[in-house]
């Protein structure tokens, strides 16, 4: 029995391929003496392959609230830890998001990320993200959650600007602090499961059956998880890493941090917190809705005060994430659906904006608003995409940002009318500064010299085109996306939280 080590090369499913393909390719590229161009092409090829796989999953996804494409293999048997993966409606849209956004981002970085390790880091990040997204075992989830951080650490430290070493250490220590408290909570749940049922398990589906935790402990565990997610999102007041990290990160890093990794915080909130602590989730929801709306206002105002474009978008991104969080905690299908929608909309728009700022930074080297102006005449394509992304962020009707914000505001109204009014009004904050930026930086001519600004190249246009199309398509015909996710959200609300669909 002792030497029966089991395992073996297992039958690998589609989800495992999505996780490990980038990692394997990255490892191969790391040792092989290829040039950065070949590395880039390979990375792009991998991202397209994953897009194709994601499309396969999307078309074969059944409209139920259950987990699909499951893969379960034992991993560390003595502690009941398994390698188990699965996907439901909520993870599906994030998968689609990753699959679409990453190739786009690669196209924008096409001629500008000249280093091999840049692409390798990007591939590793993609692996970590997918792993986090599919994990159903809390140990495995934590494993990927932390592993995702290392390539981010590398990419900021190697390719960042400013005081990059300090920012990398800061974000690393900060996020690991949060995750380690989650780690203790996970261990506590595992041990409790062992005491209650006599077997070890870290699978989410097993841990939800635990009944023997006292309320005080449960609250501590709740906040242990919440801390990790709040730092990742980032929710006020856990945002102090945000500004430096975003402004010192290279374009690719900030893109991944803002459009994808922050969303994983929200995702994890829904995926793990709701099933594990349904009653506390309902009980504390009011605080988090309030905190979300507070963050929305606070970061909105902070964004107005910024003259540095990258920092401004960093704050505006955080502001929207507050909104998303508020929607998740609104405990009704509109709020949740709105959040899911805003996750997508925000990822596309903010991601696009950061990529465009990257382009601007490269040509002009200026990041301060006061040094810009009159870009529109020099770069019409740039202006067009900039405008579409901005409109989406602000929530102009016809873009998916509008649908999302409308749904969330509706959801919050249902939850609490006063907060609803407040949240509806705060949308104005974003509108004001975003239009101001657009006018000042892009439209109005000024004395500043912007003659170095070049228009987007073909690769860049190709990269941004799908994003722009998505923004408008989802804005005009929201059902295209909503129908896949609705059963999942209803499952969360009715089956787990016992909150009816209002």
């Amino acid at each position: 029995m002792l030497f029966d080590l089991g395992g073996g090369l297992m039958n690998i499913g589609i989800l495992s391929i999505i996780i490990f393909l980038p990692m394997v390719v990255a490892l191969f590229l790391m040792v092989a003496p290829f040039s950065s161009r070949i590395t880039r092409n390979a990375a792009f090829g991998v991202s397209l392959t994953i897009f194709a796989l994601a499309l396969y999953i999307y078309t074969h996804f059944e409209l139920t609230g259950t987990l699909q494409f499951k893969e379960v293999y034992p991993w560390i048997k003595s502690y009941g830890i398994s390698y188990s993966l699965g996907i439901d409606g909520f993870s599906l849209i994030i998968l689609m998001l990753i699959a679409t956004l990453i190739p786009s981002a690669y196209l924008l970085l096409w001629n500008n990320a000249r280093s091999k390790s840049y692409w390798i880091s990007m591939l590793f990040i993609q692996s970590g993200i997918s792993g986090t997204l599919f994990s159903l075992d809390l140990f495995l989830f934590y494993f990927f959650w932390e592993a995702m951080l290392l390539p981010v650490f590398m990419i900021i430290g190697l390719f960042g600007s400013g005081n990059r070493v300090f920012s990398t250490l800061k974000i690393t220590i900060y996020t690991i602090m949060g995750s380690l408290f989650m780690f203790v909570s996970i261990l506590y749940l595992g041990v409790t499961h062992y005491y209650e049922f006599g077997v070890w398990s870290f699978a989410l589906s097993d841990l939800v059956n635990i009944t023997t935790i006292a309320r005080e402990q449960k609250i501590l565990l709740f906040f242990g998880f919440m801390l990790a997610f709040a730092i990742k999102i980032p929710l006020f007041p856990f945002h102090s890493w945000l500004l430096q990290t975003y402004s010192n990160s290279p374009t690719g890093g900030v893109f991944l941090l803002s459009s994808i990794m922050a969303k994983l915080g929200v995702y994890a909130l829904v995926r793990f917190m709701i099933p594990l602590f349904p009653d506390l989730f309902v009980e504390f929801s009011i605080y988090f809705v309030a905190l979300g709306i507070f963050g929305l206002v606070y970061f909105g105002i902070a964004a107005i005060c910024q003259m540095n474009i990258k920092k401004m978008f960093a704050y505006s991104s955080a502001s929207h994430l507050g909104f998303i969080t508020a929607g998740v905690f609104a405990l009704n299908v509109q709020g949740m659906m709105g959040s899911a929608f805003l996750i997508v909309a925000h990822a596309i728009a903010t991601g696009g904006l950061f990529l465009l700022v990257g382009v601007m930074e490269r040509h002009l080297g200026i990041r301060s608003l006061s040094g810009l102006g009159g870009i529109a005449t020099k770069a019409p394509w740039f202006t067009l995409f900039f405008a579409i992304m901005l409109f989406c962020t602000v929530g102009i009707p016809g873009t998916n940002g509008f649908v999302a914000e409308l749904l969330i505001v509706l959801g919050i109204f249902h939850y609490n009318p006063y907060l609803g009014v407040l949240s509806a009004l705060t949308v104005l904050v974003a509108a004001s500064y975003m239009f101001w930026v657009f006018q000042k930086a892009v439209l109005v001519k000024s004395d500043n010299d912007v003659s170095n600004m070049k228009d987007l190249t073909l690769y860049e246009i190709l990269g941004l085109l799908p994003l722009a199309v998505l923004i408008i398509a989802m804005g005009i015909y929201p059902d295209l996306f909503l129908y896949k996710i609705e059963p999942t959200l209803q499952h969360y609300l009715i089956d787990i939280l016992h909150v009816g669909v209002k």
Partner: protein
């Protein structure tokens, strides 16, 4: 019967015999340092081979009872620890090869001393009697004292050696005094009998035994450098030649834990609760002080020494959990020892390789931009740092997982949280090195002095680096190849063998 008994003791005999032979051969001019290091390696390999013969079997035996009367025990537990100590010694001899050959002031006696030290450690985990343990401890320590101070032209070495000698002897005296008190209270010093006698005594006055056992624990705390007995650690580790530091940090700790776990689990079981509060205080102070020391260090070697105090703190968390979650806590100690052993061996070994020629590359600053000149060495060093910091996909993470799970299982959630806090502070001093290596351009002035990757030492370190990662990922991918589960199962098995009556 005799053959059987000798079979059990074969690893010990090989090492001790080898040590004596090397000692006798050392004046012979014909044998060079290289030859000697090869001999040492072969002797250790032979001993490990003999040891693996019983590996994975569940048994307990007292070889040569007429002669030794239960002074020595051979069971799965000691076999497991022997394997650890011998692999540690093997790795030390492999990574030390380069060091001992480049530093010409080492004489051939160092190999004999080294083997004696290994013998002492092995004897310690086989000791079934307090005085045997004392003798074993002294054999191991005395050889180390000399090995530390071997380079007598170097003041730092002599000072370290002397400091360790004086403090170590005092702590040894505590052990002896403790054993005397145990004997006075119970009339025996044989493990197993102590437990039985203690069971009989329970309910009566056992304060003498408690004082005696506390004295023994003082020695234990001293040797593993727990608070308040940690002060020697940094100076001694820093003052020692690097392979010796690696050997002390990783292997000696294994041996000490090997003996003390046996004592605590079997014999002091009835009175173990008494020390719980004391241990909680010791753990908190160890974590706090070790962390503080590690943060303020400039030299990499001193940082690793200080961080070894923090790791002692983690180990003690599991140690105090034993009372309430015996099996998982003790196997987690055993597993963590393996994890720490691999990571520390790798880190110390690699630094000793880099610093072998001269005193270059010893502080953090010296490693600025290192990755751009020596990508593979930097990658390996990063792996060890990640493992020490407990980042997933390394064995250090799995080790921490077991320790903290055990602590929570035992009801010490508070300690687990403190351990976690120490862990995330540790990210700072481990990641600082990675950041310095990768995120700065290379400042190359003494780069030429760093040996290139060739020879047996880098290969050994590379294998350790792979083992560190393999230990963190486990055995899901390749069948019939030992992974995490295997290590845990054998750790459990060796734990079980302690309770065979």
């Amino acid at each position: 019967m005799l053959v059987n008994d000798l079979g059990y003791l074969l690893p010990l005999i090989i090492v001790a015999g080898g040590a004596v032979v090397l000692m006798l051969l050392s004046p012979v001019e014909r044998f060079s340092m290289e030859r000697f290091s090869l001999f040492t390696f072969l002797i250790l390999l032979g001993a490990l081979g003999a040891d693996l013969f019983y590996f994975g079997e569940l048994f307990t035996a007292f070889p040569m009872q007429e002669l030794f009367s239960k002074m020595l025990i051979v069971d799965s537990y000691s076999v497991y620890f022997d394997a650890l100590i011998l692999s540690g010694a093997l790795v030390t001899s492999l990574i030390g090869t380069h060091y001992f050959q480049t530093k010409r002031h080492f004489k051939k006696e160092v190999f004999s001393l080294f083997l004696f030290s290994v013998f002492g450690m092995m004897l310690l985990v086989h000791a079934n009697e307090l005085l045997t343990a004392f003798i074993a401890l002294e054999i191991a320590s005395l050889s180390l004292y000399v090995m530390i101070g071997f380079q007598k032209i170097h003041d730092k070495r002599v000072e370290a050696s002397y400091q360790y000698l004086v403090l170590g002897s005092i702590s040894g005296a505590f052990f002896l005094l403790g054993s005397a008190m145990m004997y006075a209270g119970l009339g025996t010093t044989i493990l197993g009998d102590i437990g039985k006698a203690l069971d009989v005594q329970m309910g009566k006055d056992v304060s003498l035994i408690i004082i005696g056992a506390t004295f023994i624990l003082v020695t234990f705390l001293f040797k593993i450098s727990a608070f308040p007995f940690q002060n020697w650690t940094i100076d001694v580790y820093d003052g020692s030649p690097l392979p010796v530091t690696a050997f002390m940090a990783a292997t000696f700790k294994v041996a000490i834990f090997g003996f003390v776990l046996r004592l605590m689990l079997i014999d002091l079981d009835p009175i173990r609760d008494i020390w719980d509060t004391l241990f909680v205080v010791v753990i908190l102070a160890t974590l706090l002080y070790g962390t503080f020391l590690a943060i303020i260090q400039e030299s990499l070697k001193r940082m690793l020494a200080a961080s070894s105090i923090v790791h002692t703190g983690y180990l003690l968390i599991a140690f105090v959990s034993i009372g309430y979650a015996g099996e998982s806590a003790s196997s987690s100690i055993i597993f963590y020892l393996v994890a720490y052993f691999l990571s520390a061996m790798g880190a110390f070994g690699l630094i000793s390789y880099i610093a072998a020629d001269e005193h270059v590359r010893v502080t953090y600053e010296d490693f600025r931009g290192f990755a751009h000149v020596h990508p593979y060495m930097a990658a390996m060093l990063s792996v060890f740092m990640l493992s020490l910091a407990g980042i997933p996909s390394t064995i250090g993470f799995v080790g921490k997982f077991y320790i903290f799970t055990g602590a929570i299982e035992a009801g010490y959630t508070f300690l687990a949280v403190c351990g976690i806090i120490a862990t995330f502070i540790s990210i700072y001093y481990y990641f600082k090195l990675i950041a310095l290596m990768y995120f700065y351009p290379a400042c190359e002035k003494e780069g030429a002095m760093i040996p290139t990757l060739s020879g047996i030492t880098p290969i050994t370190i590379g294998v350790i680096a792979i083992a560190v990662i393999w230990g963190g990922i486990g055995n899901t991918f390749i069948a019939y190849f030992p992974g995490v589960d295997f290590l845990i199962d054998t750790a459990r098995l060796s734990y079980m063998s302690l309770f065979i009556k």
